[in-house]
C-alpha cells in the first residue's frame, strides 16, 4: 500500500519532536450493499474509504491526526500534526528499521465481492422477500439487506513493526413485520461471517427469512413479559451477548486502567460460578469478529478470560500493555483510520458444560426462556447491564409455554455470573453478525454460548 521508505520518512517526521512511539495506520476499505424493502430493490450502494492515521505517544499523551491524502506530503502533514503533543525536546533524526511480520489469516475467502455480478446479490434478497412473505398471511412487510466489505490495512511503528491485514466480511439479514389484532410485531434473523460470497454456499437464505417471519408471527399472540426477578434460561447462540455485557467490557484493560470496572484488581479471584469458562478468540476463522492482525499490527490470539469461574486475564491493546510491561493480547481495534485504537472484544464465547438443555427448562418451575436476544449495554463502573429479548417464552411447570413481547432484562455483572447455576452441552456460535459500540466506535464482534440458566434476573416487562 505504501513504500517502506515513505513509511520510514513519515515515522521519522512523527518522532522529530521527541515522541516515545510513533505509528502509521493505513486503511483501504471498499464496500457494497443492497437493500430490498417493500417488495423492491431500493438501491445498491458502493463505497470507498481510504486514508491513514498517524499516532505519536509521549509519556501518557497520545497525539493523533488522520488524512485521506495518501501522498507523502499528506502523510507527513498528518505526522507533523500528531507530533504536536510532543514538543518537550528535539527528537533528532531517527530512522526506524522495519521488519515485516507475517500473521496467518484465520480464513482465506474464495469468492470476492468484486468478482460477483451485482444481480446475484439482488437475487438473494428477492428470494428472502418471497420466503418471508410466504411464511404466513400475517406478514405485512419485509426488508432484506446484503452487505460486503473488504478492508485492507497496513500498520508500521517505531518499534520496527510492519504488518498488513486483509479482511473480507459478508452479511445478510431479514426483518419482518407481521400484523394482527394486537397491532404489529417484528422479527429479525441474519448471518454475518468473515468470508466472501462463498458464504452463501452453505447459508439457507429462505430459512433465515422464514425464521425472521416466524419470530414476528409468534409474537402476535404474545403477552406482556413479566416485571421483576425471575429465573431465566437463555438458549444457545446469540445469548452470549450476556457475557459480552456482564463481563466482556469490564475485562477491557482501558476500563481496568482507569478503575472504571467492577473487575479491577480481581485477576486470580473467583468472579463466576465454576461452570463458567469464557474465551475471547480473534483467530476463529469465518467468525464475524476474526482477523489475522488487529489494528495495531498484533496477531489475533485466543485468550482465556475466565477459567472455571476464576478470572485469568483482561484483554489488552498496545498502549495499555506497554504500561503494564507485557504483550498486547491482539485486542487493539478501531472502526476506521478516523479513530484511535482501543481495547475491543473479537469472538467471545462460553465453553460448553455437561447438562442436557431440555433438562434446564424441566427443572425450572416458573421463569422465562429466551430464544433470541437483541443487543445490550453495560456501565462497566457499576457492573449494571441490560440486554434485550426479541424472542422469549414463559416457562411454567418446567415447560416452555406462551410467547412474550419484547423487553429488556437488567442485572449486575458479578452477581449474574455467580448466579449461573447450569450450563448445557449444546454450544453454538451466534450467526447474527453483531456490532459492538464503545465510545463512539463500532466494530464487528462474534459471540457464542451453550444453553444456560441464571437463578434470578430482573425481567423488564409490564405484567405482574
Amino acid at each position: 500500500m505504501l513504500e517502506e521508505t515513505v513509511i520510514q520518512r513519515v515515522l521519522g517526521t512523527a518522532l522529530r519532536t521527541g515522541g516515545d512511539f510513533a505509528e502509521i495506520f493505513v486503511e483501504d476499505r471498499r464496500s457494497s450493499s443492497a437493500h430490498y424493502d417493500d417488495g423492491k430493490v431500493e438501491e445498491l450502494t458502493s463505497g470507498r474509504d481510504r486514508g491513514a492515521g498517524v499516532r505519536v505517544v509521549v509519556g501518557d499523551t497520545t497525539g493523533y491526526a488522520h488524512t485521506a491524502d495518501l501522498s507523502e506530503t499528506g502523510l507527513r502533514a498528518a505526522a507533523e500534526a500528531a507530533s504536536g503533543v510532543a514538543r518537550g525536546g528535539d527528537g533528532g533524526v531517527r530512522v526506524v528499521a522495519l521488519e515485516r511480520q507475517h500473521a496467518t489469516a484465520p480464513y482465506e475467502p474464495t469468492v470476492l465481492s468484486e468478482d460477483v455480478d451485482k444481480s446475484r446479490k439482488v437475487e438473494l434478497l428477492a428470494r428472502a422477500d418471497d420466503a418471508a412473505r410466504s411464511a404466513g398471511m400475517a406478514v405485512t412487510q419485509v426488508s432484506a439487506g446484503y452487505g460486503d466489505s473488504r478492508r485492507r490495512t497496513l500498520v508500521a511503528n517505531s518499534d520496527g513493526l510492519l504488518a498488513t491485514g486483509d479482511v473480507v466480511r459478508t452479511r445478510f439479514g431479514v426483518s419482518t413485520v407481521a400484523q394482527g389484532d394486537t397491532g404489529m410485531q417484528t422479527g429479525y434473523e441474519g448471518v454475518g461471517r468473515t468470508m466472501g460470497f462463498e458464504m452463501f454456499d452453505d447459508v439457507d437464505v429462505e430459512g433465515i427469512a422464514r425464521t425472521s417471519a416466524d419470530r414476528a408471527i409468534a409474537k402476535l399472540a404474545a403477552r406482556p413479559a413479566p416485571s421483576g426477578l425471575l429465573p431465566v434460561v437463555i438458549g444457545a447462540g446469540r445469548g452470549a451477548v450476556l457475557f459480552h455485557e456482564a463481563c466482556g467490557h469490564g475485562f477491557e484493560a482501558d476500563a481496568i486502567e482507569k478503575q472504571a470496572s467492577v473487575y479491577h484488581g480481581r485477576v486470580g479471584e473467583v468472579v463466576a460460578s465454576p461452570q463458567v469458562t469464557l474465551v475471547d478468540d480473534g483467530t476463529m476463522g469465518r467468525q464475524w469478529g476474526a482477523y489475522a492482525i488487529d489494528d495495531e499490527g498484533r496477531p489475533a490470539h485466543r485468550n482465556v478470560l475466565i477459567d472455571e469461574g476464576v478470572l485469568t486475564d483482561y484483554m489488552w491493546d498496545l498502549l495499555r500493555s506497554r504500561k503494564a510491561g507485557r504483550l498486547s493480547s491482539g485486542n487493539g481495534r478501531r472502526q476506521s483510520y478516523h479513530h484511535l485504537p482501543m481495547v475491543r472484544m473479537t469472538n467471545t464465547y462460553l465453553l460448553a458444560g455437561e447438562e442436557d438443555p431440555a433438562e434446564l427448562v424441566r427443572q425450572t418451575p416458573r421463569g422465562v426462556y429466551v430464544a433470541h436476544l437483541g443487543g445490550g449495554q453495560v456501565n462497566t463502573a457499576t457492573g449494571d447491564f441490560v440486554f434485550g429479548m426479541t424472542e422469549a417464552y414463559l416457562i411454567e411447570d418446567g415447560e416452555v409455554t406462551e410467547p412474550l413481547r419484547d423487553a429488556n432484562l437488567i442485572g449486575n455483572g458479578p452477581e449474574v455470573l455467580a448466579n449461573i447455576d447450569a450450563v448445557a452441552n449444546d454450544f453454538a456460535m451466534a450467526e447474527g453478525g453483531g456490532t459492538c459500540g464503545k465510545w463512539g466506535q463500532s466494530v464487528p464482534v462474534g459471540m457464542g454460548q451453550p444453553t444456560l440458566r441464571i437463578t434470578g434476573v430482573t425481567v423488564g416487562g409490564t405484567a405482574a
Binding site: K40, L44, D60, Q179, T382, F387, A407, N408, G460
Partner: protein
Amino acid sequence: MTEELLDLASRVAASARAGEEVEAYVARGQDTEIVVYDGGIESLSSATSEGVGIRVVVDHRQGFAYAGSLDDEVVAETLEEARDNAGFGSPDEHLGLASPDGVAPVDLDLWRPELADLTTDRKVEMALELEKRVKASDPRIRTVHSADYGDAMVEAAVATNTGIAASHRRSSCYVSVYALAGDGDETQTGGGYSVGRSPDDLDIDEAADDAVERATRLLGARKPASARLPVVLDTRITTTLLRVLSGTLSGEAVLKGRSLFANRVGEQVAVPGLTLVDDPTNPDAYGAAAYDSEGLACRRNALISEGRLQGFLYNTYAGRRAGVPSTASAVRGGFKSPPGVGCRALSLEPGAMSQEEILAEVGEGLLVQEVTGVHSGVNPISGDFSVGAEGLMIRGGALAEPVRELTIASTVQRMLLDVVAVGNDLEWLPGAAAGVTIAIAEMSMGGA
C-alpha cells in the same frame, strides 16, 4: 470554501446524461477532539475529512455510491458506480430528485469563524479546567474517567440537475465529563456536558455540576421492589423518548406499514395538553438548518397539536408516493448514505411547572435520570417500551432515596396518553430533539 463545494456538486450534477437525474452531496469538515485525564492530555486528535455521495435516478431506478475523497478521478469513478448501481434497482415511478418548491430558506447563522481561531492550548485548558472543577467540587468524587473538549466545522453542498443548488456550514463545540463517585466498595457514575456553536456558549460549571450531582446523588442506590407507579422523566430522558417517536412519525415508515400511527391522522393519540413540533428554522435548536438534505428549505411542521395527530414528515420520494409535497424532512448520515426521512428539531410545547413543582404534584413515584438499552428494549413498530434505568424515588412530593438496576416499561402509545405534566424547563440538547421534564401517570418498574 462552501462555494467551492457547491461548484463541485453542480459540476457533477451537470454531467448527467439524457434521461438521468443526478444529485451530488459534497461535504468537508475539520474536527478536534481532546481527552484529558489526571491533569494531563490523554489524547489529542485532529483531522480534516471530506467526501461525496452521488445518487442517480434513471428509468425510475435509483443507484447510490460514495467515496471519502474529493479527487476528480475518485468523484468520476463514484458517479460511474452510482450509474451502474441504478441498473439493478427496481423501477418505481415515485423515485426522483427534489426540485425547487418556492419556499424561501430562513437566514440562519450557524457558523462562528472565531472557533477556527481558538488555539489548541486554550481547548486543552478548558478540558483540564472541567476535570479540575469536578474533582474539587465534592469529596465523594473518586475520579474523573475523562474530560473532553471537541469541536467541528462542517460545510456541505447539494446540487441536482433538477434545479437544486444549496449549501450550508455550521460550527459546533462541546465539553463533556464522566465522573465516578464513591469509595472502593461502591461506584456510581454521572455525566455532564455543555454544547454550543462557539466556545463562548460553553458553560464549564454547568457541565461539572451536572456530572457531580448525577453521580453523587446515586450513592447508596439499591434495587427497588417491583411496582406500578408514576414516573417523571428528566429532560435528557424525554429527548430519548422523542427520538423513538420521530421514527413513528416518518411518512416513509407509514407508507411501508411500519408506523403505529398509520391511518390515525386527526385522531387523539396523546393527552390534550401535548403538542409536538419539528421546527429546524428555530435558531436555538441544536439541529437547526436552513436546508434539508435534498436542498429544500426547512420549515416548521406540526406533528401533534393538543393531542391530535396532524400529519407526518416526508422527503421527496415519500411525499410523491403519498401524493403530498415534501415537508423538507430529508436527512442523511453524512455523505455515505442517500437521504431518508427524519426530524431535526423536535420539541414538546413546554408547560408551566418547574421540575420541582412537577415532583410536588406527583407526590409518590420515580424520577428517572438515566436509561440504558433503548436500542435493545424499545420496539418503535410494536410500541413496546422497556429500558434499564436509574434515578431517585419521589416521596411526599420530593426526591428521596436513589435506586438502580431496575427497568421501566410501558408502550409508546400508552405513554403519550398518560402524560400528566410537561415542564417549563425546555432545553436544546445535542441531537434532533429538545429536552423537557415530563410526568407519566403510570409505568411498570421492574426490580427485586
